[in-house]
């Protein structure tokens, strides 16, 4: 029997109470798509907020129907007896602002014009995504999160929460993340955006109701996917094997398995993701820079009240272990409670979606000690 979950929706920010964004612009009303797993306890002290990465959504665990082919994106970690144990904790996951999986984003209808926002959607930041999550948590009547967790861009949201809402975050788990993306990371995002904007179908973002820039978005996804893997994992998974061929085709069709894999990743992505959302979200990732905003990591973390856990992966070259270590040292220098684990894995950045056992062992034990040490 599959555990079924239904996506729920919360709306706020009706004029004149719009959300003020980091850029100074206002946005409203805003719809937030979210899912919950497990039960909220009587004193509302067992909530764990899950923050998803670039292409994720509110569907973190369980199934939408008996016929569903796949469970939520982090079902290996969330459920009865799992790291985020739904018998103990009340788990919440919401789609980010700017996304295209139910929460307001560039593909949503602007109530003023009755047309999709497209590029009239304001440029948003990680802090804006966090403020939308905060509104949802307030609406659910939760004053303090037992914990929160996020991998990759989700980790950036966790960092932002812990800095800006210190008393609301009892413990924070940051997985394969960074306080600021490297030049290399920005470069890959820029190429992805260029691929989308160079697609003639993009038409300055006004493609809704017409042909979407599927080719550009697929290329962006292919590039992204390369950065999520490692040289070793690609070698292990594909090597130089040919795709349904015994020898080279001596043409420009697909020869290698890796080509076929990337093409498949690109093609399936365009069916579920909005190209403009990809532009907005990667921009928010590029803009995230804790040092720039607060002067230094030490200054940024000086008022945090959370017990922290940082996990990084040895083969992750997109969000390398060194970037997690910097944050951990800054927290240690600030006398904060913080633990750092570096897991050996060949999977690269994607490891956080795949490495179930070690991640579970670390996180389940960490969560078990949160209550007594931060009471």
């Amino acid at each position: 029997m599959k555990q079924i979950v239904k996506t729920q929706y919360y709306e706020f920010g009706q004029p004149p109470d719009e959300l003020t964004l980091e850029s100074g612009q206002t946005l409203g009303p805003i719809t937030v798509a979210y899912e919950t797993y497990g039960r909220l306890n009587a004193d509302k002290s067992n909530t764990i907020l899950i923050c998803h990465a670039l292409s994720g959504d509110a569907h973190a665990a369980f199934w939408h129907s008996e016929e569903d082919r796949k469970p939520g994106w982090w079902d290996i970690m969330i459920g009865p007896g799992k790291a985020f144990d739904t018998d103990k904790y009340f788990i919440v996951c919401s789609n980010i602002l700017g996304g295209c999986m139910g929460t307001t984003g560039p593909s949503s209808i602007n109530p003023k014009t009755k047309k999709p926002y497209a590029l009239s959607f304001p440029v948003i930041t990680i802090s804006d995504m966090v403020d939308v999550q905060k509104k949802l948590i307030d609406f659910l009547g939760i004053k303090r999160l037992y914990s929160m967790v996020g991998g990759s861009m989700g980790g950036m949201q966790v960092i932002d929460w812990a800095i800006r809402y210190p008393s609301a975050v009892r413990s924070a788990i940051v997985v394969a993340a960074t306080s600021r993306l490297s030049a290399q990371g920005i470069a890959f995002n820029a190429v992805g955006r260029n691929a989308i904007c160079s697609d003639p179908s993009w038409s300055n973002g006004n493609y809704y109701g017409k042909t979407a820039p599927e080719k550009g978005l697929a290329v962006a996804r292919m590039i992204g996917h390369i950065t999520y893997l490692s040289e070793e994992s690609m070698h292990q998974k594909f090597g130089r094997r040919l795709q349904n061929k015994t020898d080279y085709g001596f043409d420009f069709s697909t020869d290698f398995e890796i080509e076929s894999y990337l093409r498949y990743q690109g093609e399936t992505f365009v069916g579920r993701f909005d190209a403009n959302s990809y532009l907005y979200i990667t921009k928010a990732v590029d803009y995230f820079d804790v040092e720039k905003k607060y002067g230094s990591l030490a200054a940024a973390f000086s008022d945090t009240q959370s017990k922290f856990l940082f996990i990084s992966y040895s083969s992750d070259w997109l969000f390398p272990p060194s970037q997690s270590k910097e944050m951990v040292k800054a927290l240690m220098n600030n006398n904060k409670e913080v633990t750092y684990c570096e897991i050996s894995s060949a999977y690269g950045h994607d490891a956080f979606l795949l490495e179930k056992e070690q991640q579970t062992n670390i996180i389940a034990n960490f969560l078990a000690k949160v209550k007594e040490t931060t009471a």
Partner: protein, 202 residues
């Protein structure tokens, strides 16, 4: 029995640490020493260890721990940002002991070091009479599988401190492998002490 030895050593270390101090334990293992110091001295304690199983054990105790290699130094830890940096039963396993000691005293206001004393008479006798690498309860390894790659005596350690301008604030030779260790007469310590405990500063 190992546990009683350890816990009595922990008592001596705890005696050197002021309450509510900020402590960094290098090679903290399963976090037992930090747990003792947090419980008895109310310290703010952080550990560093390289071993994954040890990290999990620390997490189970709720102790803050950093998974890393202390031979790479204490990069990004600020000067004098800890009251005490502790190197307990770890000096003999690091690749660059002098570098690690210097890093300890850069980051810590004081350093606490304890190590098994290779000048202990039983060890000397074994080497002298058997002509083989000594094995004791404290150092139970074969030459080829020992993690102890830098054997050191109390005399060696004191010479090194003198040579590099490291001040020894307190020297506590320890022996008596049964229950509690007696503080030995310092003059014979290099011969009689099984372990040595030092409080140092730069």
């Amino acid at each position: 029995m190992i546990n009683t030895i350890r816990s009595s050593l922990f008592d001596y270390i705890a005696d050197l640490v002021e309450s509510k101090a900020k402590v960094l334990d290098l090679g903290c293992g399963k976090g037992e020493l930090l747990e003792t110091l947090i419980r008895e001295k109310n310290v703010v304690g952080h550990g560093i260890d390289i071993n994954e199983e040890n990290i999990i054990e620390c997490i189970k105790k709720g102790i803050s721990v950093f998974q890393g290699n202390i031979d790479e130094g204490l990069l990004e830890y600020r000067d004098k940002s800890y009251d005490y940096v502790i190197l307990s039963q770890t000096l003999q396993v690091v690749h660059k002991p002098l570098f690690v000691i210097n890093e300890m005293l850069r980051v810590g206001k004081k350093g606490i070091i304890c190590f098994p004393n290779f000048g202990y008479w039983k060890i000397r006798l074994q080497l002298f009479f058997k002509g083989q690498m000594p094995r004791t309860k404290r150092i139970p390894y074969e030459w080829y599988n020992t993690p102890n790659i830098h054997h050191v005596t109390i005399k060696d350690f004191k010479h090194t401190c003198k040579k590099y301008g490291i001040r020894i604030v307190k020297e506590i030779p320890l022996s008596g492998s049964q229950k509690r260790r007696n503080i030995l007469y310092a003059a014979c310590s290099n011969l009689l002490a099984e372990d040595a405990l030092f409080l140092i500063e730069s």
